[in-house]
Subunit: 290 residues, 2 copies
């Protein structure tokens, strides 16, 4: 059943204070000289909404603030954005899962006034990825692990609107019969997916790579590690190689919309899907609100 997205447009002051009002999502609201579209110059968050409850909203808003600081955008008005998310979710036809996207751009060139909005949509259908798993290509991200200290102007770790290389990597994977991608650094470190965080389990040890490698500080992986700890396992942030992924009992791509997708092959080599752990993890992500 099709369902109408819900849009709340922001009016943002130069200091970041924001007020929101509902608007027609099918109408255009962005000018052709907005730096969001001419330069991919802005930041965003995608918040999973399960049973009407936005998940990890505080974590998302903290990351939104960090991305804004890294790109010299005004600190977002966290209370106003949180309120807009709740209002937009409440205005949407109820669904088991929704996705709330928060965007702020640098605004129309020369004005210094950011553009922003919250858009709530039904998420895509992730049933197959969650149940059957995903085929993953390992692709070179061609940057060294110390990129964030060595070249902060590259904005690694900020969630900016400049995602063309992420969508290109996903198209490359699909053109080669795979569903998704895991990037590795030029030092051989496992990094992240184009829109997901990598998580691996070996016996009772769950590991995700450190954000210091220039990665997004994943919100869903935080929830997954909480699940691991709750069942008495060890949850750790540590470096991983592709060989570690190949040898692990379970590997996942986790993200706000898809939640947890088990990796069933790496570069065409099948690997076991940890079905019991996936069922338990997905149940946690779908039912425990945090």
């Amino acid at each position: 059943m099709p369902s109408s997205p819900v849009l709340f447009l922001a009016a943002i002051a130069p200091d970041g204070r924001a007020t929101f009002a509902p608007a027609d999502p099918a109408a255009p609201h962005v000018r052709v000289d907005d730096l969001g579209v001419t330069r991919g110059d802005g930041v965003f968050e995608s918040v999973g909404v399960v049973g009407g409850v936005p998940q990890s909203l505080e974590h998302h808003l903290a990351r939104f603030a960090r991305s804004s600081a890294m790109t010299d955008l005004p600190a977002p008005d966290a209370a106003a954005w949180a309120d807009a998310v709740h209002r937009a979710v409440a205005a949407h036809e109820p669904r088991p899962e929704l996705l709330a996207k928060l965007i702020v751009t640098r605004g129309v060139e020369g004005t210094g006034v950011p553009t922003g909005w919250v858009l709530v949509t039904p998420g895509a259908d992730y049933a197959q990825a969650r149940t059957e798993g995903v085929d993953v290509l390992v692709l070179d991200r061609a940057y060294p692990g110390d990129v964030t200290t060595r070249a902060p102007w590259l904005l690694q770790g900020a969630k900016t609107l400049s995602y063309a290389l992420n969508t290109a990597a996903l198209r490359h994977a699909r053109a080669h019969g795979a569903h998704d991608v895991v990037f590795v650094s030029s030092d051989g470190d496992v990094l992240e997916g184009p829109n997901s965080t990598v998580l691996a389990r070996s016996r009772d040890r769950w590991v995700t790579p450190p954000p210091e490698l220039g990665l997004l500080d994943g919100t869903t992986v935080g929830r997954a590690l909480a699940f691991a700890r709750a069942r008495g396992d060890r949850a750790e942030v540590d470096r991983l190689t592709v060989a570690d992924l190949a040898a692990a009992d379970g590997v996942w791509l986790v993200s706000s919309g898809r939640l947890s997708a088990p990796v069933r092959s790496l570069d065409g080599v099948a690997r076991p899907v940890d079905a019991a752990a996936q069922a338990a993890l997905l149940h946690h992500l779908l039912t425990v609100h945090d």
Copy 2:
């Protein structure tokens, strides 16, 4: 004297065929779910217009087509885009210099229909950069010189809308008292500026780095090398190091709007501005139409 921009909006078929119609540049024309703004997923060109004549338009359109191919966008309808540029320039109040921006995005998510437009504006005032020169920081781009063959999904050499790191590098330079940036690879090769091509002269030899290093194939540098050949000098595409730039008789950042800006310092170390060559080069770029 302020002047109104001129906007021509495209209607683009899935196969790339395009028709254009004038529209109000002050009104919004882009939806909030257009992949151009949500993912910086699209490509662009900025064409300098001197004395009413778009410069190197064929070269720009060829690069537009190459960027489109690299990002799996439909091949642009070159004749229609060229016609739109000419009509938009003709509709603009006459100015010695104008800038025509051509943009195509992947369009509203799920539709497969690209969004596009041509916007003609007065360029910025580049008098000071052209006459006095620019202070430049050398910044690490943290990728290796073989990035285009090694990791084509990173889209190096495509002129995409995902320019956040370029604007971040320029903000970094300005925060450190400089005007602009020259990127270097992790192998120590001079690459390009965030929105310019690097050109160096030593005696009668003019050199720009090879696009194979993951650089945009510069249109203005092509015109500058034609100028060098016309005066009997050698024009070459070759690798350069920062030491080469420091030792050169003249170094320039060249681009469609600013045309040629001599580099007067590198990382805070003053270097001579080649005033005679700059005057001759700029005169060429402002008067010879190609």
